[in-house]
Amino acid sequence: MSGQFVDTMLNVVVFAYIGFLIWLIFTGFPKTSKPADSETQAERHQNE
């Protein structure tokens, strides 16, 4: 019985994780206060 419970819980974590991935894919990433520098190396090279 406890084995079945552990099994279910481990899978529930996986389902939650899959939900998180789907959310990441379809809704994008949460807004952050300080966005990353999105300048590519190619652009940096050109600017130099």
């Binding site: 481990l10 996986v14 994780y17 991935l21 952050t32 300048e39 190619a42």
Partner: protein, 497 residues
């Protein structure tokens, strides 16, 4: 000048690795029991997810190679590849080669065969055994390496970040506190996975070398050679870790690869050539047209023998490739600057897989020839001791002594060059991406790897060693998909600009 104080990442990573090593040395059986039980629970519950993920990664690589993203260069648009294509492919072979291939060349197909012949006629069992070996070492393995290597190379060379796994997270999600923390955890887990994975390889190398040496010098019990072989390996890798030998290490790696390739060609010519070629061609065909559905197989509806066998081999391998993916990924990223994503994926996935198909086709073919057409001594040796199978096979050919010495030497060189390379990589990650970490930190990692290797040796059972590696890498099942999403987000952002 006063040296900079070590980063918390380095200190915590060293502490965790040292703690695992100390546990393994003090109570190897306890560590082994815990790892085996934890991994068995994970595999029983999440086997479906692991297979779904690795198949998904293979499809992702196919999509990237065939889509417009394939034209994007890993570097500035005008970048040229650093190495010529033949030299690059040779280096990819070197990344894929290693003590594992020497160890499992004939042993793995024969082990699968012994399980499968309980359910199938011998010819079918042999064909399926080769297929499963190809599945374990083929496209899926290299898709895992390729996708992690691609993420690292893209963010390092296209987006100007470091070669660390934290780079995609902070680049794509922004430099907030939680993203930095998540990236930090990714770096920490990659260090632990690399250290434990390398230690497992070190232990495997010791088992292989001691078995070969024992046969050569006539020692009845190979176990007495364990400590001398281990000590010799430690001395051999600590020296290059202290002094950067650069080109020297790549020369040693090339020598090991040439020995392995030379032996493969020697066996193909002196062995039953047409039998092996028949096996390779039909095995390749079966693999090519069966690989995608097989990647989704989970050994459902079968009895415990098949389920345990599937967990112990295929699932374990997939986790093993994930464990090694940061290490191999960083290496293939560093040699692939300036290539397009398409070139990168085709080269990284196809070339080493074709090599594995040849390798296992020849070594496995010889094992099947002995079992199905001759006296079957190799199967008997394999059932008793997997380490001895390669040497028993070589002993059946002319110049058996020479080829066995060459195998011991190649195993020795593979282990030494892998540990030296791992010492550099671990020091690089631990110092936040410093591509020339200090000899002191590299040496500390060398000592930790040695201690972890000793713990693995004391555990003694190679299947338990594999469980420990699997446990250390389990988190990568959850890390890699996030990295892939970061890659896609960044690629589509680039596409829009």
């Amino acid at each position: 000048m006063k040296p900079a104080s070590p980063s918390p990442l380095l200190v915590i990573a060293l502490t965790i690795s040292a703690a695992i090593a100390a546990w393994g040395i003090v109570d190897p059986q306890g560590l082994g029991r815990l790892a085996s039980a934890a991994v068995a629970t994970q595999f029983n519950s999440r086997g479906w997810f692991i297979m779904l993920e690795v198949s998904g990664l293979l499809f992702v690589t196919l999509y990237l190679a065939l889509s417009r993203f394939g034209d994007i260069r890993l570097g500035p648009d005008e970048a040229e590849p650093e190495f010529s294509t033949p030299a690059w492919i040779a280096m990819l072979f070197a990344a894929g080669m290693g003590v594992g291939l020497l160890f499992y060349g004939a042993a793995e197909p024969l082990t699968h065969f012994e399980v499968l012949r309980q359910y199938n006629p011998d010819p079918m069992a042999a064909g399926h055994a080769l297929f499963i070996t190809y599945l374990n070492w083929g496209f899926h393995a290299w898709a895992i390496y390729a996708i992690v290597g691609l993420v690292i190379a893209y963010f390092a060379y296209r987006r100007g970040r470091t070669l660390l796994l934290s780079a995609p997270v902070t680049e794509t999600l922004g430099e907030a506190r939680w993203t930095k923390s998540l990236g930090w955890v990714f770096d920490l887990l990659s260090i632990v996975a690399i250290a434990v994975g390398l230690a497992g390889s070190l232990a495997m190398g010791v088992f292989q070398i001691q078995t070969g040496l024992a046969g050569l010098i006539g020692v009845a019990s190979p176990g007495v050679l364990t400590l001398p072989v281990f000590a010799l390996l430690c001395v051999a890798y600590i020296i290059p870790l202290r002094r950067d030998l650069g080109e020297g290490m790549s020369l040693l790696s090339n020598i090991a690869m040439l020995i392995a390739v030379g032996m493969m060609v020697y066996l193909l010519i002196l062995g039953p050539t047409s039998f092996m070629m028949d096996g390779i061609v039909s095995g390749f065909g079966r693999y090519l047209f069966g690989v995608l559905p097989a990647g989704f197989s989970t050994a459902e509806f079968f009895d415990d023998i098949i389920v345990d066998w599937f967990h112990g081999w295929t699932l374990n391998y997939m986790i093993w490739w994930l464990a090694w993916s940061p290490f191999v990924g960083i290496f293939i990223a560093r040699i692939s600057r300036g290539r397009t994503i398409r070139e990168f994926l085709v080269g990284v996935i196809v070339a080493p897989t074709l090599f594995s198909i040849l390798w296992f086709g020849i070594f496995g073919g010889l094992g099947f020839y002995d079992t199905l057409r001759q006296d079957g001594t190799l199967s008997a040796v394999n059932a008793e001791n997997l380490d001895a199978t390669t040497f028993a096979l070589l002993a059946k050919f002319p110049l058996g002594g020479v080829t066995q010495i060459a195998t011991v030497l190649a195993a020795f060189l593979f282990v030494v060059t892998s540990v030296v390379s791992a010492g550099f990589t671990l020091a690089m990650i631990g110092t936040g991406g410093d591509e020339n970490p200090s000899p002191r930190i590299r040496t500390i990692w060398g000592i930790i790897l040695g201690a972890l290797g000793l713990a693995m040796i004391l555990v003694g059972d190679i299947s338990v060693v594999r469980s420990i590696i699997a446990l250390s890498a389990m988190a990568f099942v959850f890390i890699v998909p996030i990295l892939v999403i970061c890659l896609f987000k960044s690629l589509s952002r680039e596409d829009r600009t």
